[in-house]
């Protein structure tokens, strides 16, 4: 499978009144064609900011370090996303090669413009379709995501659709330009479980059909287990563990990933009490030195946790962990 997007040493800080705040630090990953990458983390872990960086969507006060690289591989060659300056150039990553679905579908549609008009508008911007063609294509897409009566729905407004329908329409709109990469930021969080299950199934079908890559951002490990091929776990702006979904969920290595899985209420074991990860995620203003997780970690192995940034260790060929507990094979 060929690479779709490569992120290398992404470090992103925000300039604020209180000084420079590090939101993402030294994050590297790649997504390949036909692959779903789950990006997991709690609020404040930097997962949404990372996703926005891929489309160069962060606010003006965002500062990227010179080492940060985001390379989008298109049929026409490589695009250095962070080097894009003009809005006209950014069309490639915004809605062209990359589309994004947001968490709250009500807030993502303009309330006073019909669904169809919004879909047609972006199709005409990103392709050479005529208005009539764009309308036909929009109706086809609405039908494809399982919206009944697409001919009628296309002229309706967001408020006339239920939550699940709105999210389906959002997906239809995001996919209508046939992006290479879809970023889905908590797409099912606002939905009921029965609807969530439908949307997850739909997204799985679409990856196969359109041969896209998906970055699925979520805090729900169950959703990741059911959708992703690879998982990256973020904490306080750093990528602390990544690997194939089965390995990371069945055999988590980082104490934080282990804690996250232990904190999850499980239906097959109602008796054992829930074990929270102690403490709270520190404010980005108070990033601890050493390992970012050292304020809550129960498996501190020594002073190095408090002062030295843990290196990325390969615990097996494709599974990497940033924790001092592990040493690269042959080194121990």
């Amino acid at each position: 499978m060929s690479d779709l997007i490569t992120v290398q040493n992404l470090t992103l800080k925000f300039r604020t009144d209180e000084g420079l705040i590090t939101a993402v630090e030294d994050v590297s990953f790649r997504v390949r064609k036909g692959e779903v990458m789950g990006l997991v983390g709690e609020s404040g872990s930097g997962k949404s900011v990372t996703a926005k960086a891929l489309m160069h969507l962060n606010a003006k006060n965002a500062v990227y370090t010179p080492e940060s690289k985001i390379i989008l591989h298109t049929d026409e060659g490589e695009v250095d996303v962070l080097a894009l300056r003009k809005a006209s150039e950014m069309k490639v990553v915004r809605g062209g090669a990359i589309s994004m679905i947001f968490q709250e579908p009500m807030a993502s549609f303009a309330p006073a413009i019909s669904i169809g008009k919004q879909m047609i508008e972006q199709l005409m911007l990103h392709s050479d379709m005529t208005k009539a063609q764009a309308r036909t294509h929009s109706i086809e897409m609405l039908d494809r995501v399982g919206i009944s009566d697409p001919h009628k729905r296309v002229d309706q407004f967001a408020f006339e659709l239920s939550g699940g329908m709105r999210q389906r329409a959002m997906i239809a709109m995001a996919l209508s330009t046939q992006p290479k990469l879809l970023i889905a930021d908590e797409p099912t969080t606002a939905l009921d479980v029965t609807i969530q299950a439908q949307v997850i199934d739909l997204m799985k079908d679409l990856v196969t059909e359109f041969d896209m890559g998906i970055i699925f951002i979520t805090h729900d490990l169950g959703v990741v287990a059911q959708t992703a091929d690879y998982v990256s776990v973020m904490y306080l702006g750093r990528l602390i563990e990544k690997g194939p979904v089965r390995e990371v969920i069945r055999d988590p290595r980082h104490p934080y990933t282990q804690g996250l899985i232990a904190a999850l209420p499980k239906l097959d074991d109602l008796e054992s009490p829930l074990t929270p990860v102690p403490g709270d995620i520190p404010s980005p203003l108070e990033r601890p030195p050493g390992c970012v997780f050292n304020t809550r970690c129960s498996k501190i192995v020594g002073d190095q946790c408090m002062s030295v940034l843990p290196p990325d260790v390969k615990v097996d060929p494709v599974h990497r962990v940033a924790c001092h507990i592990y040493k690269e094979e042959g080194q121990a």
């Binding site: 709690e42 609807i195 997850i200 089965r246 109602l270």
Partner: protein, 335 residues
């Protein structure tokens, strides 16, 4: 038996008027003929999707929305009240006995008040203390129980994380010494690692202070871990109610079963898609006749489309289900 129940509702309905004028006016029945008993000292779970009426039922028990039909009684051993007709001084007294913990700890706390003032406000408004010193004592006592530091009391809410804020909201709800507390999606806005901590705290308070909790949630796995008894609502109706273990091991209503199947499994190889539900919950203003669930039920027959099933005793103590076909489905092992 009825003395063991802090809340007892019979055919309770809550309707809201939608639209005005003679032709446009209709009643939206958010809660429709619900009969339910909540045992004193228990952790009672109420589950359902958005639009199922779970929040409205909780608010009806708190007298935050008017009860349109049916009866509801409150009995904590000290006083027995008829909630449908409650008003005046008795209602004021009820306010300190029954409290609410909100969903979003970011919206529930005034950013301009210190934590001490936030927690003390119910005491002052209800006139439960005689001096500032007494108020402070009560605030400190409840803050300690909710695992807040005394130095936190001088600060403003913005200085706290989601988990800490939720502990502040809990302290505020509990400061008047309520016997019955409705926790409406109280952990839904929290991160997983923090959620477990707040749930453990609520369980601790239930045990130590003898509070009865009504825990409203859409998250079945959270409910399974905290509640003693769970009721499932769909479109304003109670469809199933049972002790937690029983409900999770042997659900008798197709909707309950579907809700379980829809929870994404942590096992990547566990494919449950065979039992997934189609469609969405119908609009409460345009409810289907017969069983409310028949439009999405894989087992619906003609009878389900005409006749509405009544809540009846299922196999097992305290297990009730409203489905025409539950015996049949159980015998066929269809669920």
């Amino acid at each position: 038996m009825s003395n063991d129940m802090i809340i007892s509702a019979r055919d309770l309905s809550v309707g809201f008027q939608i639209g005005t004028g003679i032709f446009n006016k209709h009643i939206l029945k958010a809660v429709d003929s619900v009969s339910v008993d909540i045992e004193t000292g228990s952790f009672f779970g109420l589950v359902g999707e958005s639009g199922s009426g779970k929040t409205t039922l909780g608010r009806a028990f708190l007298k935050a929305v008017p009860i349109t039909n049916g009866t509801a009684t409150y009995d904590d051993g000290e006083v027995a009240l008829d909630l449908a007709t409650l008003d005046g001084p008795a209602l004021k007294d009820y306010r300190k006995r029954a409290q609410l913990i909100f969903q979003d700890p970011y919206a529930a706390l005034s950013p301009r008040m210190t934590v001490r003032d936030i927690i003390a406000e119910p005491l002052e408004v209800m006139g439960l203390t005689n001096s500032r010193a007494e108020t402070d004592d009560r605030v400190r006592e409840i803050a300690a129980k909710c695992r807040l530091n005394l130095e936190h009391l001088r600060r403003f809410p913005h200085a706290f994380s989601g988990g800490q804020r939720q502990r502040i909201s809990i302290a505020r709800a509990l400061v008047s010494g309520p016997k019955f507390v409705v926790a409406d999606e109280s952990v839904a806005a929290l991160d997983v690692s923090i959620q477990a901590d707040v749930l453990n705290l609520l369980k601790e308070l239930q045990r130590d202070l003898g509070i009865t909790f009504m825990f409203i949630s859409h998250d079945l796995s959270v409910v399974a871990h905290t509640c003693d008894h769970v009721a499932v609502m769909y479109l304003g109706r109670l469809v199933e109610s049972a002790p937690t273990r029983q409900l999770f091991e042997a659900p008798r209503h197709p909707y309950t079963k579907a809700l379980f199947s829809a929870i994404p499994s942590l096992d990547p190889d566990d494919d449950k898609s065979a039992q997934k539900l189609d469609g969405e919950i119908p609009s409460p203003t345009n409810q289907p006749p017969g069983c409310k669930f028949h439009t999405r039920c894989p087992f619906a027959v003609d009878r389900c489309k005409i006749e509405e099933p009544k809540l009846e005793h299922a196999d097992g103590t305290g297990h009730e289900v409203a489905c025409h076909r539950w015996v049949e489905l159980m015998e066929q092992h269809a669920l």
